[in-house]
Symmetry: C2
Subunit: 119 residues, 2 copies
DNA sequence: CGATCACTTAGGCCCATGCCTAACCAAAAC
DNA sequence: GTTTTGGTTAGGCATGGGCCTAAGTGATCG
């Protein structure tokens, strides 16, 4: 069962692995079974399903049994959560740059501040 | 020295740690020295600076020596890279949902498809 | 110059992660 | 009902990550 309360920790560390990112990429095109997903990888199946387990624990995918196969589906909104975290902090950073710039503007004719832009 | 070619792997795994995310958060407010950043954490300094090393290798921060201290600065655009990866795949996923919906629309009076929405 | 401050380097411990093989299970095909 | 297919469970090995303490370095302060 998918983790109902996936942490941002789990998401980012799930995404830190190239195999798992490739799975996310594949699933962004649509659902697929375990063996379909596993096919491109030179890896034993148990190792691969372990990756799927990590993705599912992280809330990035869900899966359901379909006959003797297992169909995996990407959980789009979960990606959004990680995206939002990044966006929030990048915006903070940008806002600060803007304030700094504005401040420098007010000092135009005076001496530069203690934080030189290194360009 | 900061890694000039940070991989998306390095970024995501750097962001997978709560200490390191807290550092990113702190630096989104503006530059700070190692010990300023370390202060809130109940952790030996060498352990903490190791985290800074990971962030720097991942290209998420840069740092320069300032007297006997070391000033760390967030690298905003790097956050953007991770954000973009996520956005790209989420958009793929959304696009597919849209196509699926549109397709279902064309079948309105007919039987539902093999992929039920689980709401 | 000696002491202190802000780190860094070196080395070690422990648990988590990523991979494997071998064996098992359950649905489907024959 | 036996075999094949699709996947899981169990268990083991090796590397890496996160933490520590102890000792070193280089800039500043008295």
């Amino acid at each position: 069962m998918p983790n109902q309360n996936p942490s941002i920790d789990q998401m980012f560390s799930a995404l830190a692995d190239p195999t798992r990112r490739a799975v996310v990429q594949a699933l962004s095109q649509g659902p697929a079974t375990v063996s379909q997903l596993a096919a491109p990888f030179a890896m034993a199946l148990p190792s691969f399903t372990q990756h799927l387990g990590v993705l599912e624990e992280a809330g990035l995918i869900t899966s359901r049994r379909q006959g003797r196969a297992r169909l995996c589906v990407l959980n789009g909104p979960a990606l959004r959560d990680a995206e939002d975290w990044l966006a929030a902090h990048r915006r903070q950073w940008e806002a600060r740059l803007d304030r700094l710039e504005a401040h420098l503007e007010t000092l135009k004719p005076a001496a530069p501040e203690k934080e030189p832009s290194d360009d």
